[in-house]
Symmetry: C2
Subunit: 246 residues, 2 copies
Amino acid sequence: MKHDAMHMAGKPTLGFRPLYRQVRDILVKRIADGVWQAGQMLPSEPEIAAELDVSPGTVRKALDEMTAENLVVRRQGRGTFVAKHDDARILFQFFKLIPDSSVREFPDSKVLNLTSGINPEAASQLGLGRRDCVLVLDRIRTLAGQACVLERICLPAALFPGLEKREVPNNLYQLYAMEFGVTIGHASEKLKAVAATGEEAQHLGVAVGEPLLRVDRLAFSLDQRPVEWRVSLCRTDQAHYISDLR
Amino acid sequence: MKHDAMHMAGKPTLGFRPLYRQVRDILVKRIADGVWQAGQMLPSEPEIAAELDVSPGTVRKALDEMTAENLVVRRQGRGTFVAKHDDARILFQFFKLIPDSSVREFPDSKVLNLTSGINPEAASQLGLGRRDCVLVLDRIRTLAGQACVLERICLPAALFPGLEKREVPNNLYQLYAMEFGVTIGHASEKLKAVAATGEEAQHLGVAVGEPLLRVDRLAFSLDQRPVEWRVSLCRTDQAHYISDLR
DNA sequence: CATAATTTGTCCGTATGTATC
DNA sequence: GGATACATACGGACAAATTAT
């Protein structure tokens, strides 16, 4: 690794990546493959450096990036740990709806429906073939005692075998990681204001035509593949969605 | 600086900051104070290191952070430059509304109204006294040929003297920086779905009661003070707001 | 067009401080 | 207190990109 072909050649190859990024990729892959599991401590920086035959500084830079991506957590004096999808992290990274006059809070969930079958639209969003089997989960979420979010979650059935026959917990991303080895790395959301239809209005306890915030999320696994498509309809009369621009 | 009092004492002071962060603060202050202006090249890393009597690696780490915060831009072989609020940056960092079936685009603006006076609500948002003078700018913005955003922008009059008597350009953050020495560093937005009122509906060409996306933004200067409060009402029938979760 | 100078990017190695067990 | 781990700081060597000569 130290005397990488990329560096020896006069010209860098087209697909050249810096050494620290190659190291990063190796470490990410170990997490994605479950070699190092959620919450587990990584080997120390000098150990990783010795194993991969790079300098400690290079490992440090790779871990710096992974820390910035929320893939690992570093604790001085203790070690570096694979980030867990615990409630606190989900709350800050993936749940952006906050009660207007109160603090951040993890919503309860009630499952309405869980089916599997053909769903061309969802399959397209998830990058599957039109006829690949898709799981569809409908649920309603409660914030500060009020039904607040109605959401439909679509998943590639192939990645989550047996999910239909299982109790579905509140924290889905933890379930994906712990039970199916699918770790969500990041997600991209598209927001619109829409009018409530009859069925939606009934679930959320609002009038038909009332404005709702529609959040269309595509979530990606650590290897950058789309693995969840989620559409949430949110009441925003007593809550708001936060977005920080930096 | 090298033999900082913080380091000599056996115990770190309560308000201790790492050296590279102290360096960062000095450099940020120079940008905030206009010593180094937008687009200007900074001295080279070894020069800054020599001037502040720290090692080049420490300056490098300070600049790394500032790069991550979009305060400076580094270009290999050329130098490090103070980030400009040019259209491209505004478009990616601060304008999150994208046409559904097209690419990112910088919206046109038409000023409806520009007044100054007492405004307790805006003053409170901006951290001013209730009776401090506030500038209020109303404008309407066009995306893909369609009136799309109706927004009200509130500013502390004390920071923007003479703004009322001036032509107001499309790119406000550039104006703040170039003409008034106020650089926006980051912003925080709260989103809700609301129903259009009569006046709003007329401006945006929709029916009364139609759902609109209400974006409530507080923007902060480099020294972390709130300097702009902006409420935007957006049509989202042919556009959407994007938010990346990482 | 070729070369040199400048600047950031990458990589390396060491020493010391701080937190935890 | 000692051992271990990460955090900080330092400084140097070479590569890559750009600009000036």
